[in-house]
Symmetry: C2
Amino acid sequence: MRIALHYKNIDYEYRPIHLVKDGGEQRKEDYLSVNPKGEVPYFIDGDLKLSQSMAILSYIDEKWPQNPLFPDDRGLRSRCIQLSEIINSGIQPLQNLRVMQEVVKRFGCSDQEKKNWSSFWIEEGLSVLERELGLFKGPFSMGKDLTCVDLYLIPQIYNAKRFGIDLKRFPRLVDINDSCLKLDPFIKADPKNQPDSPSDL
Amino acid sequence: MRIALHYKNIDYEYRPIHLVKDGGEQRKEDYLSVNPKGEVPYFIDGDLKLSQSMAILSYIDEKWPQNPLFPDDRGLRSRCIQLSEIINSGIQPLQNLRVMQEVVKRFGCSDQEKKNWSSFWIEEGLSVLERELGLFKGPFSMGKDLTCVDLYLIPQIYNAKRFGIDLKRFPRLVDINDSCLKLDPFIKADPKNQPDSPSDL
């Protein structure tokens, strides 16, 4: 979401929410008074309040059409949604903090088992993407132009690295990551360049 | 997906894939020759092959614009995606067969624990939807017109019932379910009305 806002040169106010500190700021009254469900990311534009990254990105793309995130062609646009969803609904929900906490609570697994669980879903999803994105030639996920897929892929690769996943098996994804990380919107949106970045990132 | 095709009166050929029989038909060579990833649902239109329900529904809605699945208004359209994603990425990935099998394999949990895991995510998601859809008045999720949200909600409620979840806590969702199940596209798409329906459904 940060990447999209930078890519489209949209001014925004950033309110960092720390998911771990003090049991999670997303569960504190301050944040819940704005967003009763306590989810992140959360996007506010006038009266409109949105959660769910696909909804937020679609809205941003329609309201600020410069530097489009989805291809014009109907078939390619649906492929763009498909490839984004491989991360959004295929990887992310299975490896996020909340689900990992629930796995530990219910099944009392070790830190290693918890890590294995998340790594399994990340590696499986990235394998699918390595094959799928190999069908497109060019610096970005779907070829010569940046799309929504890149906006999902780069943070997911960042996350894969944090889990210690060996990216050698994913040369196409590594190439795309390298291309994107040279671009201004990705540099500005990098977690370590945020005002709330913890020093250990 | 079946509901959308019926709602828009689109002729289609239905190829049932049994996810459990013989270790899962989605893993057999016959199906993998069509769809190497072995996922369902899978949609083919000419050269275009799509997985991921959000991609398939967006494509169907753009190619066959009669009986639209998304509101015209930009804000409402993004809300429609958000509410659909609460099921698509917030519930479905955490309670599907594949994830349940992995939970059992890794953590050796009992049938009851497996059921509790799925029920937890379903109930949590339905609670959010009960509150969200209470903001709209009318027979359907977003008010007077059927939308994509209903296409996600009705199968999810069907699934919740299979898990034995008490729906009394979700009166708004039950009302929407009742309204939808009176409509032809939902009757035709009902699992028990499919050619491959097992007799125990």
